[in-house]
Amino acid sequence: MLEVKNIIKQYSGHLALDGVSLQVPKGQIFGLLGPNGAGKTTLIRIINRITAPDSGEVYFDGHLSQPDDVFRIGYLPEERGLYKKMKVGEQALYLAQLKGLSAREARINLEEWFNRFDLMSWWNRRVEELSKGMQQKVQFITTVVHHPDLLIFDEPFSGFDPVNAELLKQEIQALKEQGHTVIFSTHNMASVEELCDHIALINHAQVVLSGSVHEIREQFRRNRYRVVIQDPGSAVHAEDDAYTIEKQMRDDRYIRMLVRKNPELRNSELLTLLSARYEIISFEEAVPSMNEIFIQTVSSTGKSIEK
């Protein structure tokens, strides 16, 4: 759907993007991650043709990105705003028409969305009369009203209360199911795990990690397992080089352990070794969370660049 090739963007004195390349597959949810100031918003602005890169290309749906492509993009920026004094409906119509819809189409689509979000009674009210949550909903509607092929949400969950954030997640999922491609940038790693198919992690103007969420988590497996056993009454310790116990915690009648196995050892062999000695209550692989991956990657790449 979208391919970004070797983008370089320099602002006075600092490099915002340094040879960034990305591929966003069609019909998937793509998470753009990275700490503050890493260059996410700059990249999003380039994709939206708000700013131009110093060098590099953006390919949209197979062709070099063109001015009219913005009609096929829906963009919800991080800093959101509406004309406060304007009426909600008028404003939504205006924004929809600027995205290339005819007045009639815009009205039909908007009424459908307003009904879905239960906002129809607010159509003739001024934006400033709406609560913040409602303004966010209006904003979301104006982003998706023209049925764009590509949706870009910059920090969509910031400012949403949990109920509305959940609603938003469902809508994003629904949009994906309808065949839309979604890019969203966020700090909220839990939502990444829930929603994203692919991610790219940007740090210090460079892509430091990218791929499907599944692959990345696979890649970050460290042969760690969470094991809970019944307290044997004696000290628990690693027997040999087959596995090591990195952490253990006594909890009433149980001991919770973090076990690291020798990479050559298969899971069932580890289980056999353990079960020969202890009564096993539970056993699961400790797959690193996206949060851990994020922190680990950012801090390691941060250091390497500082050198």
Binding site: I50, F71, P77, G81
Partner: protein
Amino acid sequence: MSKIGLIIKREYKFRICRKSFILLTLLMPFLFAALVFVPMWLASLGEDENQTIAVIDDTGRYASLFENTETYTFLPVEGSMAMYRERNDREIFAFLHIADDLAKNSGAAVLYSSRQVPRTLVNIIDQTLTDAVREERLQAFEVPHIDQVIRVVNSEFHVRTVKWGDEGETQESRSFEVAAVLGMLTTLLIYTFITLYGSMVMQGVMEEKTNRIIEVMVSSVKPFELMMGKIVGIGLVGLTQVCLWGILTFVLLWAAQFLGGGAELLAEAERLSANSAALAEPEIIAGIEQLLALPWAKIMVCFLFYFVGGYLLYAALFAAIGSALSHPEDSQQFMTPVLVLMIFSLYAGIYGVENPDGPLAFWASLIPFSSPMVMMMRLSFDVPFWQLLVSWVLLILSIVLAVWFSAKIYRVGILMYGKKPTLREIWRWTKKT
């Protein structure tokens, strides 16, 4: 509809529908009408009161010289000042005491009153007594036919000004006053319009920026379209307002003729002007003739051109300023140079009227930033065609340049937040491609 059309429509519709716009548009004509009628009404009020001035003339030579006016009745009385003072007669407004021959003792006339004496009354008395004393002194020389001699000597002289046209024809030069008033009016109108609507453009741009709606906007339209749409939209609002003011004021004045109070006032006005016409009939008629002789078509076309052109030029600057700022508090610093430019232009226009072909007026009417205001002032006094042409071309060129320049600043500025940029940084923005 094209995007720029949509933007213009929004700016226009949104502002036209605002309560403040409707209120101002409807109330201003009443204010204009009031400016015409209230002074007349007040003038007619003052005259209802008739004040009596008692004249105590010890010499017996001056009392009969005072002529009653609409406001003052002069009443020759007998007796002493002390007596009247004791009586404290409220019916009498003031007492004029002439104690001695004024030709010999100029301090002998004193006006007493328990209230503040109006300037007009003092002037009447001064004038009457001055004339009387002069007459007396002249008579004292005992020159035969002195009256006629004085009348002949006193005749006033007015020089006729004739201007040579380009094709050798001569024409009566236009009345200075009529042209000056018209020039002043159009200049002020353009100045007010630019200030009012130029700063509206700036506020609009800043509103979009601080609202953060700008990012959504520029993801669907080009910054240039957004800027031009705003400038044109607001300009149209201004034109609408000025047109409505013109029409409403005209309608109000016209309607006032048919209403009871209005008719009386108008009759009063006619009577007043009839009075003054009787005094200086040829001059008034000449003034009206000259007013009609002004090149109205040219003035109207130029007014429209400079009105719109001046607005576009300044609005582009205001838009650039608005885009560069993140906080309204910073606007003053960036506005000042523009405001200084405008105030200079206004003053150049006002002083230019003294000498419409002088170097100040000449240059200021060609330089684009001041030409909309100064050229309008000069226009009522013939301006050579080539100067007009140069002024127009320069204004159009500078509008194009200002819009191009501002668009560059605007494009970068609207997405810049944080500290206010230095002029050097802004300069760097314009060089980006």
